[in-house]
C-alpha cells in the first residue's frame, strides 16, 4: 500500500518560483493590511509604529537618563531596533496557526510560506524603524562614515536570522500553543543576555565571553560598529549569527516541511 499523495494533487503540484513569490506577496499584503489598515493613514501608522514601540524608551535614555558610555541612546538603539523585528516576528510566527486558521483549514497551499510572509511583513515595519537610528545619530551629532555601508550586510544578517527563527517559532506555536506567553518572555530575556542595555565593550570578564554565545550579540555589535564606532564589524559579529541562522534553517525547515501538511489537523 502506498502512502500519501500523487503528484497530480494541488498540494504537491510543482509551481514556478513566480507563483510562490506571488503567494508570498499576497500573504504579506494581507498581513500588512491587517496591521496598518488602508488609505493615507497607513503610511503615517507605518512611520509612527516604531516610535510608539521603542522611540519613547530611546528618548528617555537620550534626554532624561544621563548614563555613561558613548552616545548611550544610539548604543541602545543599535540593539533595540534589530531586536524589535526579531521579537515581533517571533510573536507573529507563534500565533500564525491561530491567526491564519481559516486559510489553513480551507486552502491547499505551501504553509512553508507563512513564516516567510511574516518576516516580510516585519521587514517593512523594520525599514521604518531604521529612522530611529538616524534620529539618534543626529541627536548625538555623530555623522555617518563609510563604515555605515556595513549597515547593508548587517541588516541582511538580521533578516536572515529573523526568517530562520520564524520556522521554529511557528512550530513552537503549533506544538506548545499554551506555552506561547512563557516562550515570548524567554525570548525577551535574550535581549538582556546580549549587550542590549550596555555595549559589549562595557561588559568584562567571563560574562563578556559567555554573552557572545547569544547570536544577537554579534548583530547588536555590528550595528554599533557601523553607526556608532565608525568601523567595519568584526567578522564573527556577522558570520556567527549567519551560521546560527543557517543551522536553524537546516534543522527546522525539513521538520516544518514534514509538519506543514498536518497543520490542518490541529488548526
Amino acid at each position: 500500500m502506498r502512502l500519501g499523495w500523487t503528484a497530480t494533487t494541488n498540494h504537491l503540484r510543482v509551481r514556478s518560483p513566480r507563483a510562490y513569490w506571488d503567494m508570498l506577496i499576497a500573504l504579506a499584503m494581507a498581513d500588512l493590511r491587517d496591521r496598518y489598515g488602508r488609505g493615507p493613514a497607513r503610511a503615517v501608522k507605518w512611520l509612527i509604529d516604531p516610535y510608539a514601540v521603542a522611540g519613547v524608551y530611546l528618548i528617555f535614555v537620550a534626554f532624561i537618563v544621563h548614563r555613561g558610555g558613548e552616545a548611550p541612546g544610539l548604543s541602545v538603539a543599535c540593539a533595540v531596533v534589530p531586536f524589535q523585528i526579531f521579537i515581533l516576528a517571533m510573536m507573529a510566527a507563534m500565533r500564525l496557526i491561530r491567526e491564519r486558521r481559516s486559510l489553513i483549514l480551507d486552502l491547499d497551499f505551501r504553509r512553508v510560506l507563512l513564516p516567510a510572509a511574516v518576516t516580510l511583513t516585519e521587514t517593512l515595519g523594520f525599514a521604518a524603524s531604521l529612522s530611529l537610528l538616524a534620529l539618534m545619530m543626529a541627536v548625538y551629532g555623530i555623522p555617518p562614515t563609510v563604515a555605515a555601508l556595513w549597515l547593508v550586510p548587517t541588516v541582511a544578517v538580521t533578516l536572515i536570522f529573523t526568517l530562520a527563527s520564524s520556522y521554529p517559532a511557528m512550530l513552537f506555536g503549533v506544538w506548545f500553543g499554551r506555552l506561547i506567553p512563557f516562550a515570548l518572555s524567554a525570548l525577551r530575556i535574550l535581549y538582556f543576555l546580549a549587550p542590549g542595555v550596555v555595549a559589549l565593550s562595557q561588559i568584562h570578564g567571563t560574562a563578556n565571553e559567555l554573552i557572545r554565545i547569544n547570536p544577537l550579540t554579534g548583530i547588536f555589535e555590528a550595528y554599533r560598529d557601523a553607526l556608532l564606532y565608525g568601523h567595519a564589524p568584526h567578522a564573527w559579529e556577522l558570520l556567527y549569527p549567519l551560521a546560527f541562522a543557517l543551522a536553524l534553517l537546516a534543522v527546522f525547515l525539513p521538520i516544518f516541511r514534514s509538519e506543514q501538511r498536518h497543520l490542518a489537523k490541529v488548526a
Partner: protein, 251 residues
C-alpha cells in the same frame, strides 16, 4: 478536462496528547502519552469525469475530513489517493476569508493561493465582484458580511480559476435562492466539461440536483454508494449512528 478521483484504503488519523489536545505527528513523539482516532479508515472510492457525488451522513461521520483530503488540505496517513484536476474548494462558510480584509482584498488572496498569478487575480476582480453579486459590499471588510455573503465571495473566487473539481462542504446551504441557481449552473458547466462535483451537506434537495450519485459516510467509512435517492432513503431509514469521531472535538 479529465478530472478523476481514485482512493484506495484511505486512512486519516488524528493524534491527541494527554490533555486531549490535537497534536501533529512530530509533536506526538515528544508527548509522554498519546491517543489516536481515525477520521477515515480503509475508505476506497472512484469518481470519474462528469460525475456529481453527494456525501451524506450524520454529523461527525467523516464527510468534512474526506473533502479536506480530496482538496489536499489534509494528508492521507494510510492508503493511496489520486486526484486529477484543478480543485476549487469551499470547505467552510468563511472559506479562508480574513475578516479584516475587504471582499476585493480577500478575492486577490484566495485566487492567488488557489494558483492564479497576482496579475490574473487582479484582472478577475471585476468579474468576481459582478458574479458574487456583492455590489458595494465588495469594498467592505469581510467581518461585515453575512454568512451568505461570505459564501458567495468564496465560491466565486474558488470557481474563477476554471476548476475541474468542485468540493463543497455544506457551504452551499448558506446561499440564497438566487445564488443557488448560480451554483447549479456552475456545477453543471463543470460536469458537462468532464469535471467533478463533490458536495457534502444536509440539504438533500439541493444535493439531489447537483449530484445523481451519493455516498453514505458512516464512522469514517462508506456505508452505501449508489443513486442519490436510493442512498438517501437508506440513510433516512436507518438509525442515526453515534457520531464517533474527532471533527467535533477538533473543531
Amino acid at each position: 478536462m479529465t478530472a478523476s478521483i481514485s482512493v484506495r484504503g484511505l486512512g486519516v488519523r488524528f493524534l491527541f496528547d494527554s490533555q486531549r489536545d490535537l497534536v501533529t505527528p512530530m509533536r506526538a513523539k515528544l508527548a509522554l502519552r498519546t491517543s489516536e482516532a481515525w477520521g477515515l479508515r480503509d475508505l476506497s472510492l472512484d469518481i470519474g469525469p462528469g460525475e456529481g457525488v453527494a456525501l451524506i451522513g450524520a454529523t461527525g461521520s467523516g464527510k468534512t475530513t474526506l473533502l479536506r483530503v480530496l482538496a489536499g488540505v489534509l494528508p492521507a496517513d494510510e492508503g493511496e489517493i489520486r486526484v486529477e484536476g484543478r480543485p476549487g474548494s469551499m470547505l467552510s462558510i468563511d472559506a479562508g476569508l480574513l475578516p479584516t480584509l475587504t471582499g476585493r482584498e480577500n478575492a486577490v488572496l484566495l485566487t492567488v493561493l488557489g494558483g492564479a498569478s497576482r496579475a490574473r487575480a487582479k484582472r478577475q476582480l471585476d468579474a468576481i465582484r459582478e458574479r458574487s453579486g456583492l455590489g458595494d459590499s465588495f469594498e467592505l471588510p469581510a467581518s461585515s458580511y453575512s454568512q451568505g455573503m461570505c459564501a458567495r465571495l468564496a465560491f466565486t473566487a474558488a470557481t474563477e480559476c476554471d476548476p475541474e473539481l468542485i468540493l463543497l462542504d455544506e457551504v452551499h446551504e448558506a446561499f440564497d435562492h438566487a445564488f443557488r441557481e448560480v451554483l447549479e449552473a456552475t456545477a453543471q458547466q463543470v460536469l458537462a466539461g468532464g469535471g467533478i462535483v463533490v458536495a457534502a451537506g444536509h440539504d438533500h434537495e439541493i444535493l439531489s440536483r447537483l449530484c445523481p450519485r451519493a455516498l453514505l459516510i458512516s464512522n469514517g467509512q462508506i456505508a452505501d454508494d449508489g443513486p442519490f435517492e436510493q442512498v438517501r432513503q437508506g440513510y433516512l431509514g436507518e438509525d442515526s449512528p453515534e457520531p464517533r469521531h474527532v471533527e467535533g472535538i477538533a473543531r
